[in-house]
């Protein structure tokens, strides 16, 4: 056993009474925490290798294993926590940048938990979603500010004829994405996640009438059949981008940045670039897939505009173009620039957004919370009178349907969920996605691990999740006396802040709890 200066993160306990030395745990742990000693006919565990993914705990047929946080503290200091110490020891050993996966685990204040929702009482009846229609349908894309109509020459003169026969709307509506419920699956590239995980997302999106996002990893040939529910990404690496790719989707998203690593590119190590991935990404097998930090053809907003229009030309103006940015300090002004540059959708990813791999320091310290970013962007776009010109998709750590409702009430049109979707498929948030050893078959390309994730079962779980959240959203809307999502969108009067600073309330544009209309 390698000698280390620090204690393990987890303590794996094996009940010797229950363990039957079947070696299931040995096979299940890709981190090699469990080993079998044939001579002694004994399974042993090296806790220092455990990442706390709980795979062995659930797979052990006799329930002999348990995993808990390692409780021994090294230094009794609030400043120098064990986590700090361990990171220092690791860097002292390796001289490297610390890497991590998933969204930040730092204890930032979660503003969602300080926003309270309203409900109707007496004067404005609540609506029972089981009895009355409750509309969640959402359209994403640029919209004109107003419409022009002309009276038809040949009037339909039947009594009670609908006005749509008497008038025609001459204004054309740009292509929209139609969503049955205001949720989409966030960009997760094939490469960062397994084929089975990608397929589960794609087929769940199709079944739910929503969209999934390919991320920057190109599109596997077997996923072209889900193109109606696909948003393809064009990122700085331009992996897998050709005309066919751009036209095998419902919308195209230009990725400028992501919440987990604003200002940082990506790196898929060559060993993960398998045959299939090399084909999807259109790069030679075994080569590192490097996404530069900036797009090498975008150094200003004009350059972005050129790329937006290049994509629109290539897709004959039939696909909405989205631009995804990380929520950084100046997000409102940047988003406004993006809309003026021609984007139909701005996707904003907050500081809690997840990732397959990111430098820990960047993940944990760069960006702003999505709650504030949504408000700032929505307010700014309304002030400038350009809110109709683009939709807002918010991303970054949405945990449940209440977060979604609050995001929409603050002004988002829809939300991207990534981490929550992975968790519904089985992810246990061990944050080791960057190792490629995901024991749950999600963030890995190892065929042995990938087959642990059955894409049909994963799809079912994703569909259930979207269904459950949609039902909850309807329930909350009904409680507010609202039967259509557009009356919730941007309706900040139905939110109140609790235990929030005055400045936060101001930026969120909401009143403190207890204050009435």
């Amino acid at each position: 056993m390698k000698r280390m200066l620090y204690s393990p993160d987890y303590l794996v306990t094996r009940d010797p009474e229950k363990c039957i030395q079947c070696e299931v745990c040995v096979r299940q742990c890709a981190f090699n925490a469990h080993t079998y000693d044939a001579e002694k006919h004994r399974v042993d565990t090296d806790c220092s290798k455990c990442v706390g993914c709980f795979r062995c705990v659930y797979m052990c047929p006799t329930g002999a294993l348990s995993v808990s946080e390692f409780s021994g503290r090294m230094a009794n200091s609030a400043n120098w926590t064990d986590k700090q110490l361990k990171e220092l020891y690791k860097q002292a050993e390796t001289g490297g940048v610390l890497l991590t996966g998933m969204g930040t685990d730092k204890k930032y204040k979660i503003i969602w938990d300080h926003i309270l929702l309203d409900a109707a009482q007496v004067t404005n009846p609540s609506i029972d979603p089981l009895r009355e229609p409750m509309e969640l349908r959402t359209y994403l894309g640029g919209k004109p500010l107003s419409i022009e109509v002309k009276e038809n020459k040949r009037k339909v003169s039947l009594p009670g004829a609908d006005i749509s026969g008497r008038f025609s709307i001459t204004t054309e509506l740009p292509q929209q994405l139609e969503l049955k419920t205001p949720i989409l699956f966030s960009a997760m590239s094939y490469g960062a996640i397994s084929f089975n995980a990608s397929k589960a997302l794609a087929s769940a999106a199709e079944e739910c009438g929503i969209y999934y996002n390919t991320g920057e990893g190109g599109l596997h040939k077997d996923l072209y059949r889900y193109s109606k529910n696909t948003i393809v990404q064009v990122a700085s690496g331009r992996f897998g981008v050709d005309t066919e790719y751009l036209n095998s989707c419902a919308a195209v998203e230009i990725k400028i940045g992501q919440g987990a690593k604003p200002g940082i590119g990506g790196h898929l190590p060559g060993e993960k670039v398998t045959d299939e991935i090399s084909m999807a990404r259109m790069i030679p097998k075994g080569t590192d897939a490097l996404s530069p930090a900036p797009h090498h053809d975008i150094y200003s907003i004009e350059d972005l505009s050129q790329l937006i229009y290049a994509i629109k030309e290539a897709t004959e103006y039939k696909k909405p173009v989205s631009v995804k940015i990380a929520a950084v300090h100046n997000v409102a002004a940047i988003a406004s620039g993006i809309v003026r540059a021609g984007a139909d959708i701005v996707a904003i990813d907050g500081i809690r957004g997840g990732t397959g791999a990111a430098p820990t320091r960047t993940r944990d310290n760069v960006g702003i919370p999505i709650e504030l970013a949504i408000s700032a962007v929505d307010t700014r776009m309304r002030e400038e009178g350009i809110r109709n010109r683009a939709s807002i998709i918010a991303a970054g750590g949405f945990r449940n349907s209440a977060d979604v409702v609050k995001a929409i009430a603050l002004g988002a049109d829809a939300v991207y969920i990534g981490t929550a979707a992975l968790i519904s498929m089985g992810c246990h948030l061990c944050q080791k996605c960057y190792t490629g050893k995901c024991n749950w078959g999600i963030a890995t390309q190892d065929p042995y691990l990938v087959k642990r994730l059955n894409s049909e079962i994963a799809c079912r779980r994703l569909v259930n999740l979207i269904l459950a959240w949609s039902l909850e959203i309807k329930e909350i809307m009904g409680g507010m006396g609202i039967n259509s999502i557009e009356s919730l969108r941007g309706n900040r009067l139905r939110l109140r802040g609790f235990d929030l600073h005055e400045n936060e309330l101001k930026i969120l544009g909401i009143k403190p709890a207890g204050e009435s209309l």
Binding site: T123, P133, E135, K143, I482, E486, R489, G490, L493
Partner: protein
Amino acid sequence: MGCSIAGVIDGNGSLFSGDEIIRSIQKMFLRANGLGGGFAGYGIYPENKNDFCFHVIYKDDKSKDITDAILKLDFDVVKSEPIPTKSIKEIINRPILWRYFLQVSDSAKRQFYDLTEEEIVMRVVMKINSGSYGSFIISSGKNMGIFKGVGYASEIGRFFRLEEYSGYCWIAHDRFPTNTPGWWAGAHPFGLLNFSLVHNGEISSYGINKRYLEEFGYQLPLRTDSEAILYLFDLLLRKHSLPLEIAYKILCPPLWHDIDIMPAPAREFYKKLRVVYSGALINGPSAIIVADGKRMCGFTDRIKLRPLIHAACGSKHYLASEECAIREICPVPDELSFVKSGELTVCGIKGKIK
């Protein structure tokens, strides 16, 4: 229960006394609590029918002085006088109630050469009502006026001596306020230019309707949802030049599951309305009467959570929250029916306005 609303229009444009609408709304007094009532009358100022008539509520002399000065910047004052009232014992703490007949001055027309006269008026109304001068312009149309205050509608009507006015269209409201405290400017009807509106209900979408309107330069100082509905009509009809029927379908569009089974052109039509004007959809219980001098319309919210009844008798049309209010002034109507959800009842003027 909730507020009550009523309206009468003579399709021939013949004038009749305000006494009729007072009696109609009075019949529904049980729906109100004395914290606000009001009326709008059309055709009541024939002598000044080409002047913009402002009815203004002032807190004190100082607020009037400031407002007078602001009005003089853009308008020539044709007439300026107190609104006649008479003493009613229930009406207490009346503010200063004033009316002006105004013409947009030539210098204002030159300065705002790119604005219509209506837009110049709207600008001034927004400026005064949202500034904290203690002044509220409660109506600003031509040949019409709004009379409102704190009290039961019938008391307010008699206080303003409405039986002495003659108009061809009247709408009224008696209030049971739940969202804002009872105060003079907060009573219904709400008016802007020739538009006036009375509303029974509470809009759960107010927060977004307000923000949507603000994008187009409206300010909503009265903090009431009814004001938002009025401005939505103004935006759609005046600024976006949409026909009334379409404006109504924007505020109360059909449900998606109904749209989905329509023939393709209708489906496209309603999809465009809903997608482009999502911020204008009104949600929540409502029965609404609007008038603009040319017609009076009534409708309810999409799932009809508030009552509204329509009746016709000869050239006259009636709308009211309850049948009794109509029977009070028209005991045997030719026809009487409930306004259906999703339908706009339009009672227009056919003849020339007398």
